[in-house]
C-alpha cells in the first residue's frame, strides 16, 4: 500500500519525532511511505482567520503536492479536517472542487488510518508509565475520529491510561485564537493544565501538534514535570 505522509508545518518543525514515528509505524504495517517534497501548510491559519483567498493558495498547493498519492496520512486530526474542508473552500471552481474531493477521500489522520484502513488495533508497542489523553476538538468533532486513539492506546503494554477530567473542553489553542485572544486562551489552557495535573499522570498524550504545543507550553512554564508526547511516539515505542 502506498502512503504519502503529510507532515504538517507544526509537525515538521516542532514535533519531528511524531513524523518519524508515523513513518516507522506505517512501514511496520507494510506501507510504502513517500514524502512529496512540495507540500507546505494546510492553510488553516488563513482559513480560520477569514483570509480565504490566501487559504485557497495553500489548498491548491497541497492538492497538487498529493495529486499522485494513493493515500495521504497525517499525524494531525486538525490538518486532516482542513484537507476535508478544501472542497467547500474551492466550490466556486468545479475543476479544483473535484480535485479537492479526491484528496479528501484518500486523506486520513494516522490513528484512523491504522484502525479503519489497516485494521490494526495493537501496534505492538510497550511503554511503562501512566498517561492521560487529550481529545482534540477538530479531530473528534470535525473529522469525526473518536475511538481510534483510545483503541490503540489501550493495547500498549505497560501503559496505564487515566481519564482526563473535562476532556471535551478545548485547550484554548485554536490556531491564531491563541495569539489573537491571548487572555482568553490563557485561561482555557490554565484549566486544561490543571486537569492534566489532577490526574497525576506522567505523560500527556495528544494527536495534534497545536494542542500539544499549547498544553505542553503551559506545563513547561509551570515546571510541572509532565512529559508531552504525540500519540505516534507512544504507539511506536518498544
Amino acid at each position: 500500500m502506498n502512503v504519502s505522509l503529510f507532515i504538517t508545518c507544526l509537525g515538521d518543525h516542532f514535533y519531528p519525532n511524531a513524523g518519524r514515528a508515523t513513518v516507522e509505524l506505517l512501514e511496520r504495517f507494510d506501507c510504502d511511505v513517500d514524502f512529496p517534497a512540495t507540500q507546505t501548510c494546510c492553510g488553516q491559519p488563513a482559513f480560520n482567520s477569514g483570509y480565504h483567498k490566501d487559504a485557497k493558495k495553500a489548498a491548491k498547493q497541497t492538492i497538487t503536492a498529493f495529486q499522485e498519492s494513493e493515500y495521504v496520512v497525517t499525524p494531525s486530526g486538525s490538518c486532516a479536517a482542513m484537507l476535508h474542508e478544501y472542497s467547500h473552500l474551492l466550490s466556486d471552481d468545479k475543476e479544483w472542487e473535484q480535485k479537492a474531493e479526491a484528496l479528501a477521500e484518500k486523506t486520513f489522520e494516522v490513528t484512523e488510518f491504522l484502525v479503519n484502513v489497516l485494521g490494526v488495533e495493537d501496534t505492538g508497542a510497550r511503554f511503562q508509565g501512566t498517561a492521560t489523553y487529550h481529545t482534540s476538538c477538530h479531530m473528534t468533532r470535525l473529522l469525526g475520529v473518536k475511538d481510534a486513539p483510545m483503541k490503540l492506546l489501550e493495547n500498549v503494554k505497560g501503559l496505564e491510561m487515566i481519564d482526563l477530567p473535562n476532556k471535551h473542553d478545548c485547550c484554548g489553542f485554536g490556531g491564531t485564537f491563541a495569539v489573537k485572544m491571548p487572555q482568553i486562551s490563557t485561561e482555557m489552557v490554565q484549566e486544561k493544565a490543571d486537569c492534566v495535573r489532577e490526574t497525576n499522570a506522567d505523560i500527556l498524550i495528544g494527536a495534534d501538534a497545536g494542542c500539544l504545543m499549547n498544553i505542553g507550553g503551559k506545563l513547561s512554564r509551570e515546571k510541572s514535570g509532565v512529559r508531552v508526547m504525540h500519540i505516534t511516539e507512544v504507539l511506536n515505542h518498544q
Partner: protein, 477 residues
C-alpha cells in the same frame, strides 16, 4: 435593554469578566450541571442524533416556507378575533405596543421573559411613556430591580449573581429582611409579584413557538409566571421574532422536547402553555383582547443567505452551556443580550459588523457549540463565514494581519520559498531561544509567551531526517 449593552470595548469587557472570580465560578458550575442534565435527559430520549436531524429538518422546512406559515398563523388569529401586527423594525413594534397600552390606559404592565422584547428595547419605550413595566420571570425581576443589570445568559439571565448578591438587591430595593436562603428569597419575590399580577392592566409575553395550523402561541417556563401574565390582565400582547413558528402541533412536540432537554435537561418544564386567541364566550380566564406582534428587525435579511440556519435557533442556550470561551469570560463580555456562540453569530447579523467585529473571533472554533445545537446550526462555520466577511469584504482586519496573511499565502504556495523559510526558522527565533524553548519575544511570540512557553523549532526537522534516510525527497534547495 437594547441588543447591544455597555459601551466598553470588547477587550475591556473580556478583562472585566476574567477578573470576576465569583461569576466564573458560577458559570463553571452552571455549565457542568446543565451539561450533565442535558446528557442524561437526551439519553432518555433514545437516538438523540435522529432527534437533532428531525429538529433541523423541521426548522429548515419552516424557514423555507416562512411566508406561508406566517400568513396561516395570522389568518387563524384574525379569525378568532385577535390582532396581528407585522413590525418591520424595532421602532414599529414598539410604537404598536405603546399604542395598545395608551388605548387601554395601562398604568401597570406585567411581562414574562422575552428575548425579542429586550432586543427591541420595549420596556424603555413603555417606561418613557409613563408606564410601569414589571418583569415577572425571577431572573429578569432580579436584574430589573438591580438597576437594569444586563442578562448574562439566554435562559438563566441572572446566572452571574449568587444568592447573597440577590439578597442584597432585595434588601436595598424592596426592603427584604430575611436570609439568603433560596426558598425564602423566592417566596419573597412571589409575594411581591402576586399583587403586581392582580393589579396589571396589560400582560406582555414572548413566544417560544407559534403554531400556524391553529393560530396558537406556546410558552415554556418553569415558574408559571407566563400563565399569570396571560391569564389575569384583560389585554395580552405577545411579541415574537418572525422565525419562531412551527407548522403544526406535531412539530411543536418535537421542538419542545429538544428545547426542554437542551436548555435545562428536563423532559418537560413545569409549565408548557398553549394559548389560542382571546377569551371566547363561556371561558373563565384568558385575555379579552389579544395582540400578536411579529418582529422582523433584520431577520428577513438573513433569509436566503449563507446564515439562514442561524434563524433555526430555538434559544435553548445549549451552545452557551458548552462554550469554553463563555465559561471564562461570562455573558456580559459579549456586549449583546445574545451571548455565547449563537450571540457571536447573531449579533453581527442583526446589528452589523462595525460594532461587533470582535465577536466572531471570540471562539477557538472547537465546535462544541455545533455539536451541542439541537437543531444543528453549524455555529463554528458561521463564525468562520463572519470572519471572511470581516477581513475580505468589510476590510476590518488590521493592516499587519492582512499583510502577514498575504505573505503566508505567498509562502505556502511556493514550495522553494517555504523550504527556505522553514530551514531558517530556528535561526530567526534564535535570539529568544533558551535551550529547547522560547519564553519571551516580540509581537505574536509575546502574546503566546504571556502564559506559556513555545517549543523552539527543531534544528533537525522531519525533512532533515527523511533526507538522511536516503529517499532523496523533501530536500532543501
Amino acid at each position: 435593554m437594547p441588543l447591544r449593552v455597555g459601551s466598553d470595548a470588547f477587550a475591556e469587557r473580556v478583562d472585566t469578566g476574567l477578573e470576576d472570580a465569583f461569576m466564573r465560578g458560577a458559570v463553571r458550575s452552571a455549565q457542568e450541571r446543565l451539561r450533565e442534565r442535558k446528557h442524561t435527559s437526551s439519553e432518555q430520549l433514545g437516538d438523540w442524533e435522529a432527534w437533532r436531524d428531525h429538529g433541523e429538518e423541521i426548522r429548515t422546512h419552516t424557514l423555507n416556507h416562512l411566508d406561508y406559515y406566517l400568513e396561516q398563523l395570522s389568518d387563524n388569529i384574525a379569525e378568532m378575533g385577535g390582532h396581528v401586527f407585522f413590525a418591520e423594525t424595532a421602532e414599529e413594534a414598539n410604537a404598536y405596543v405603546r399604542e395598545v397600552a395608551r388605548k387601554k390606559e395601562a398604568k401597570k404592565i406585567v411581562k414574562s421573559k422575552s428575548m425579542v422584547t429586550e432586543e427591541i428595547s420595549l420596556n424603555e419605550v413603555l417606561e418613557a411613556d409613563g408606564r410601569e413595566v414589571i418583569e415577572t420571570d425571577l431572573g429578569e425581576y432580579i436584574l430589573q430591580i438591580d438597576d437594569h443589570d444586563p442578562p448574562s445568559h439566554i435562559v438563566a439571565p441572572a446566572l452571574h449573581k449568587n444568592r447573597s448578591q440577590i439578597r442584597d438587591v432585595f434588601t436595598e430595593r424592596k426592603g427584604y429582611s430575611k436570609t439568603d436562603d433560596p426558598d425564602e428569597l423566592t417566596r419573597f419575590a412571589r409575594e411581591q409579584l402576586r399583587q403586581e399580577f392582580l393589579d396589571a392592566d396589560l400582560g406582555i409575553t414572548g413566544c417560544n413557538f407559534a403554531v400556524a395550523e391553529s393560530g396558537s402561541i406556546s410558552l415554556v417556563t418553569n415558574e408559571g409566571n407566563a400563565r399569570l401574565v396571560s391569564a389575569l390582565p384583560k389585554t395580552q400582547v405577545t411579541v415574537m421574532g418572525m422565525e419562531r413558528i412551527v407548522p403544526t402541533w406535531e412539530e411543536l412536540d418535537v421542538l419542545v422536547s429538544l428545547l426542554c432537554r437542551s436548555a435545562v435537561g428536563q423532559k418537560l418544564t413545569s409549565y408548557i402553555t398553549g394559548l389560542t386567541g382571546p377569551k371566547t364566550e363561556g371561558e373563565v380566564d384568558g385575555p379579552e383582547e389579544f395582540h400578536l406582534v411579529i418582529v422582523d428587525n433584520g431577520r428577513s435579511k438573513i433569509l436566503g443567505t449563507q446564515f439562514q440556519s442561524a434563524l433555526h435557533c430555538i434559544r435553548c442556550a445549549a451552545c452557551v452551556n458548552v462554550c469554553p470561551v463563555y465559561r471564562h469570560v461570562g455573558g456580559h463580555a459579549y456586549g449583546s443580550i445574545y451571548n455565547g456562540p449563537i450571540g457571536a453569530v447573531l449579533t453581527p447579523l442583526l446589528d452589523g459588523y462595525e460594532n461587533n467585529k470582535d465577536l466572531p473571533y471570540a471562539s477557538s472554533l472547537c465546535a462544541a457549540c455545533t455539536e451541542a445545537c439541537p437543531v444543528k446550526i453549524p455555529l463554528h462555520e458561521h463564525l468562520i463565514a463572519h470572519r471572511q466577511i470581516i477581513t475580505e469584504k468589510e476590510k476590518l482586519g488590521s493592516m499587519p494581519e492582512r499583510w502577514s496573511m498575504r505573505l503566508f499565502g505567498t509562502g505556502v504556495s511556493r514550495s522553494k520559498l517555504y523550504r527556505l523559510a522553514s530551514k531558517n526558522a530556528h535561526l530567526a527565533l534564535k535570539p529568544w531561544t533558551k535551550g529547547d524553548r522560547i519564553s519571551s519575544g516580540p509581537s505574536l511570540i509575546k502574546e503566546w509567551t504571556r502564559s506559556r512557553d513555545l517549543p523552539a523549532p527543531s534544528r533537525d526537522r522531519f525533512r532533515d531526517w527523511w533526507m538522511r534516510r536516503g529517499k532523496g525527497e523533501g530536500q532543501d534547495e
